[in-house]
Symmetry: C2
Subunit: 447 residues, 2 copies
């Protein structure tokens, strides 16, 4: 079976039958297309940017994702910490791309890629033939070879991850309220965040705010204020990708929220009762993993050269060596720009997606491709209310100014006008009341 040919041909006939009901001209135009077929795998920042660049161009595009939504990952920690509802940061892919009549969206899982025959195999025995391929499958958690830790220390990459972490955090306080033994209660009120990159810092800061502000006065047998939030980092400082002085500022802001920061701490074991650091034992019923990522397994289907994290080493124009028709972008790509590795952040992914799509269009008209140049607009990480750090070239901000900048940037870049509005309202409400509205635990049965 072959979707772009078999299905489309079949649909062509049937859809023309229902000519009265639908906009036949557009169906016609799309279905009869003899333009080159571009397959995009993944609709994160990179894949979506590629798709948007190809919208309306003389190509037939099929974008494949295993979820039905594009996720605004930088705010995922807000869903995990009950500040935002899941739909506030996710928009249906086919809705975003609805006006691009040359783009077809498929919810499917890629099971293999045949570079020689130019075929992408999907679940349910579907096959997509392509003329050009853009692989933007992203990254997942890495437990440094200890995959058995995954069930005790969930990572934060998808909405399902976020809801699972939310569930664990909220249930920990509930369980503590029912515990009689002080020791057991302390373990339920101890939260460990592993990894002090932006996600780890954001999670730890927000967790501290939940314990100290949101849940205050709501329990009768415990005092949520006594909860311990421990932030573990393997290197010698938090936010290692930031300038040193901002790491210190971040540290101070975290300490003001009573987050315990432990640098140079390497995790040697994780189980349901806590975490081991060499000889030391930290009892904690809730552990969140924000330590490492590795490239999506889809990368391995390419059979190409990859680095230790599974990221594909691509040419300077983002194409695969020996396969100019295949581009690899986003967190899956290991590429240098200006002699420095491009970081695995959303702006870089967007730029790569756009660049690959443009190179593809250049190839189609016989022009040479261009090397990718990463434009670094700076980094932002939030810690809590009025607490953040920002590094924008030589400009460095912290505290309230950084926080306001972070707020504006994140709301601005959210997909869809409505989501922006809702997120803004949610935050205004949270700011004035210290409440978090999405404190709903799912998946514990119901009446």
């Amino acid at each position: 079976m072959n979707i772009p040919t078999t299905i489309e041909r079949q649909h062509r006939c049937e859809m023309l039958q229902s000519i009265e009901e639908s906009s036949a001209k557009q169906v016609d135009q799309h279905e009869m297309s003899t333009n080159p077929h571009v397959v995009i795998i993944g609709c994160g920042f990179a894949g979506l940017a590629a798709a948007c660049t190809l919208a309306g161009k003389p190509v037939a595009v099929t974008i494949v994702d295993r979820t039905n939504h594009h996720l605004f990952q930088p705010l995922l920690y807000q869903v995990a910490t009950a500040g935002l509802a899941a739909p506030a940061i996710a928009a249906p892919i086919r809705h975003i791309l609805r006006e691009a009549r040359n783009i077809t969206t498929l919810l499917a899982e890629v099971t293999s890629i045949d570079l020689a025959r130019r075929k992408v195999c999907l679940d349910q025995d579907n096959v997509l033939e392509y003329d050009h391929l853009i692989v933007a499958a992203g990254a997942c958690h890495s437990y440094f070879g200890h995959e058995e830790w995954a069930s005790f220390a969930p990572g934060l990459k998808t909405l399902d991850d976020a809801l699972e972490i939310r569930r664990r955090i909220l249930l920990a306080f509930e369980r503590a309220e029912r515990e009689t033994s002080p020791e057991a209660r302390r373990a339920w009120l101890s939260f460990v965040v592993v990894g002090a990159g932006s996600t780890g810092v954001e999670l730890a800061g927000t967790l501290a705010e939940i314990a100290r502000e949101t849940l205050r006065r709501e329990f009768r047998h415990i005092d949520p204020m006594v909860a311990r939030i421990i932030l573990l980092e393997g290197s010698h400082r938090v936010l290692q990708s930031y300038p040193e002085d901002l790491s210190e500022k971040a540290c101070k802001q975290l300490e003001r929220l009573h987050v315990e920061i432990r640098t140079d701490s390497r995790v040697t074991g994780v189980d349901s009762d806590g975490i081991s650091l060499g000889g030391e034992r930290l009892p904690a019923r809730t552990v969140v993993w924000a330590a490492g990522v590795r490239a999506s397994p889809v990368g391995y289907y390419l059979g190409a050269e990859h680095d230790g994290d599974g990221r594909i080493r691509v040419q300077l124009d983002l194409s695969l060596s020996g396969h100019p028709e295949v581009f690899v972008v986003g967190d899956l790509a290991n590429v240098e720009s200006g002699g420095r590795p491009v970081p695995g952040v959303a702006p870089a992914a967007k730029q790569m997606g756009q660049h690959a799509a443009r190179n593809l269009l250049r190839q189609m008209v016989g022009k040479p491709t261009r090397p990718f140049l990463y434009r670094d607009y700076g980094s932002l990480a939030t810690i809590g209310r009025n607490a953040a750090v920002a590094s924008l070239g030589r400009l460095r901000l912290w505290g309230k100014p950084a926080w306001l900048l972070w707020l504006c940037a994140h709301v601005y870049f959210l997909i869809g006008f409505r989501n922006r509005l809702v997120v803004m309202l949610d935050w205004a409400w949270a700011y004035w009341t210290s409440r978090r509205h999405a404190r709903v635990v799912l998946g514990i049965g119901g009446k």
Copy 2:
């Protein structure tokens, strides 16, 4: 172990130690309480109304629920049909009751009730001793003895149910887009709603709007407009609890949305491919159950006389025969008011909860209890945009006026100012754009 005694005594000492950190006076007041202990099982409309009535009164209240949230069930179909996010209609129980210092909230599951010893057993071997008990455990789906249908035709009672139904509805369109066989595609585009009470009518109407408005122009291989929405009803008319002329109005409004209504249709089989009606077979990959309810199994723990649906037959004052200290309220209670059975609707549950709590307070001061009188303010059911029916005593409304009334009533009764605002905005947005913002499929894995 015994929560109100053992835990509280232990906490008393420990909490007084952390006297600087928390509001000691209030802890003191609560923990030292020698007031009678009231246990409320369930925090739906009935349980919450009882708790609110007892707030600040000379009783120590423990409210137990197996979820952490009070759910505004009348809008659950909106979560199921991607119009609202889950947190928009759910508020954390302990947040609602945070100012009532005499009320303790526990997330726990009741495993048995010992009426003779006045004990409620919870999971994790916790036991609650009570002086008074209010059982408000509600209802769950009934498949009329065919529990094996449950996995093929989920019902709509909890947030988890709603998200499962949302998942099935949205994935059905996604699967149809990928199908090559016209027959298989038709089965994915056929949706059956079993039961044409308010929930069934609301689901069918909204499903029709999704197919005809929301998803228009978003697919390339299918036309969502051709989706069949079939509403099955065992009796001879839809909305049987409404006056006959309003049933007809509802029918007409549903037919305008191209919902196929089949009354006098009794389901004889449900499987993953469709539904059987006697000899007839309806191929449909998505079936939603809105046909019957039965009382929560918690009712059986009382060992009291119950009706065919498992509802407990209570005295006119809502107490259990032979146990004046036990009240049964809400969907779990079978009671008459003015010679007519009280219906299983939210306003009746609220009134019962309040009434039982008031009777309990009367008992405490030696006054006789009063019989429950149900005040029927009318019924409202919505069908779609500008389409609803309302029966308010002699006043009957339909179309836009009924819809506006329904809108105001439901937003007004939503718990919490913020939720009201968010729901209002969501609806305003949906009204003007025909979009549904919560189109997020969870639980299909991620990157």
